[in-house]
Amino acid sequence: MSEKLVVIGNGMAGIRTVEELLKIDPLAFDITVFGAEPYGNYNRIMLSPVLTGEKAFDEIVTHDEQWYVDNAITLHKGKEIIEIDRVNRKVIASDGTQADYDRLLIATGSNPFVIPVPGNDLEGVVTFRDMHDVNIMLDTSKQHKHAVVIGGGLLGLEAANGLMQQGMSVTVVHLMDTLMERQLDEAASNMLRASLEERGLNFLMAAQTETIIGKDRVEKVRFKDGTEIYADLVVMAVGIRPNIELAKKAGIHCERGIVVSDTLQTFDPRVYAVGECVQHRGMTYGLVAPLFEMAKVCANHLAKHGIGRYEGSVTSTKLKVTGIDLFSAGDFTGDETTDELVFQDKASGVYRKLVVKDNKIQGAVMYGDTIDGTWYFDLLRDETDISDMRKNILFGQAHLGDSGHGEENRVAAMSDTAEICGCNGVCKGDIVNAINAKKLLTLEEVRAHTKASSSCGSCTGLVEAILANTVGGDYSTAPHLKPMCACTDMTHDDVRAAIVNKELKTVRDVMTGLEWKTSDGCAKCRTSLNYYVVCAWPKEGLDDYQSRFINERVHANIQKDGSYSVIPRMWGGGTSPKELRAIADVAEEYGVETVHVTGGQRIGLYGLKKEDLPTIWKKFSDAGMVSGHAYGKALRTVKTCVGKEWCRFGTQDSTHLGVELEKMTWGSWTPHKFKMAASGCPRNCAEATIKDFGVVCVDSGYELHVGGNGGVKVRATDFLCNVKTEDEVLEYAAAFMQLYRQEAHYLERTAPWLERVGLSYVKENIVENDEYRKELAALFRESQKYMQADPWAERANGTDKHEFEPIATITVGKTATTA
């Protein structure tokens, strides 16, 4: 028989926990839910758009009553629990209903604070917390004119905006002299106020409410200074208090909230609590992102699964008033130890401020154009060192290079047919519809259901912005340190360190040794693990070819029709009649439809049959050609120009250098593909400054450049240093590649890796530390001893023969008869 779980509070945190629990172990508990409100569960943060009329209540219901039935959950709606009997382990509702529990989850949310002034109990005085409040406001707006909203915070402004949309004349009363002082600095706050005033809201700042006046219902509000204003409706939006009375009465330890541990347990370990009612490590929260993180950990613990812990959250805020873009996160006030970076363009209504301490972002405030909010927030949570981008950071991520979406980034203004994901052809409307129809709440869910942002990822920011616009708030918050994938709680860095320290030399050993949650991992982690093992143990590690993506397993690129392409290496972009003849012969003999000069200075053959590959490779092998690794997370091409041998401007022999670089590095596996180039002079015909490692020859020697790429997001290289000789170029290249191989996450190209660790870090290790550079270069060369066996020649000689041959060929005909 299953254990009994009782949930008190049918709100966002409670039901999210139940959902997470159903995902990992649907049979673990018999679940009973008590909710004081008379509905299933709804998305509370969407009450604001319900009030403005942009949404109907039906559209914000996330779990209707059928959902509870479908998941065998007993729902007691409209029943408030008034007592928890911890001795007999049961809860009692106001109507006498009782339920026994083995585990109890308290998710009672919070109560809106009502300021203690005379008249606060008059008819027409409401708070803004649930659907009941919204209904009163909507009804009042139909019969009355004047509304007063007390509180100029997030909630108050959303209420005021809603009531104004319903045709009321609204005055916002605020105790302070700036709006949203907990989320905004003064400059942003003033810009916000100006644009709200322009829309028709009235403000009464630095005003202290003294009395609410009225006979049967509210008529006026009077302030300390004696002024009075008319009011048919007063909305109190001055803050919330964790709803802890019930827990307190049951003797559960509470301070400001119900005190919980990192596993979301109260002092009575049978009793868990999540959501706004809890206090964790001294903090209480009033936004949903932290609740979702809590829900995940709590569900894991309830299911006796995993080792997850909740370690607190950093939150960010957006205001859900259509047409006003505002974002803030972290600590944006700063002090003497912090610096402020500010960008302000009053005329176009744009303001950005970053508070920076020791080159790490502490807080951000943005007004007007907030598309970079998620990016700053990521930098904040990852504690990224921003010294190398400090000069440009205020201009946003786009300024650091992308393929030019630029001003196209304001999602609210986009039409439904605007294409968001270019890879999968997903339009804004598709995403919005999926979010609404399937009640999606996180980036992961949107990716799974729409495929948007699931391929190259360049539209992730846009998808997150659409998500935020559609469901409100910032749901997409990922945990601070992301686990590798759903098969483990460990991060890429943890896993890499363990492979080295615990001497794990096969993918299977890693999964067993690090207690993988799935029997054989998934396509995502297995490919990463295999790379990490091969990189850490080039000599004795087992290269598990079943953990390699098909292209690397068979050393050719799979095409959309299941055929393959073959691209032999042409050292430094050079070739010879003999090689060209071999290519021509193969192309003719195998009826190749497409012979293409690739973007990497070599020739590709397309549409080949898998079973023909070994014999084709044999022909290339005989002509002295090897695999070009065009299919691998590996050294790809080294582009060169003709250099000083021919060109009237050439300063060094860039062609020779390119060939040497390629001879040294070919066959090496890397976290993502790795491309190089060498140009003979600063005219840079080989495009060395958009390569992972680029050399620009100059009269005095060689300029080395790192971390560039074309592709999804164009990034020009950073200048590393100058060196004098070809040997030095080779040493620096080897050392740089080895540092990248050892430290980057799988599928992280040099550009994002460099942005994550910082150019200074790479310089310290490669330029300033001669000893370590030599050590890294030696490690690279050692590893290459085991990597430079041509995989094509091996397969032409019979390796992995079964990969290229069918196991059986049978004739079935239309009516199945024996072969």
Partner: protein, 109 residues
Amino acid sequence: MSAVKKEDKNWIEVGQIDDVPKLGARVIKTDDGNIGLFRTADDEIFALRDECPHKKGPLSQGIVHGKKVTCPLHNWNINLDSGEAVAPDEGCTASFPIKIEGSTIYIAI
């Protein structure tokens, strides 16, 4: 009522278990298209039409884990026992019965 009992199926021998790599696959060629033959970590064998329900990617070229294979073209996950795509993706590819006798694999088409 089905007249064909299990034993009456047309079982066709295709090879030995060890001809299929663990966590890997082989292709059976037929005049009616390819069939992928998959082997899990604990040596279960499954057969699916070698066409992903998404855009016909050759499933035999994917990565096998648990009782699933990840399609090599766009990473859908397909259940090996039923041929159904793992939610939220939707679609199904044909699956074929397999019989193992000793270490010999038979398929019924």
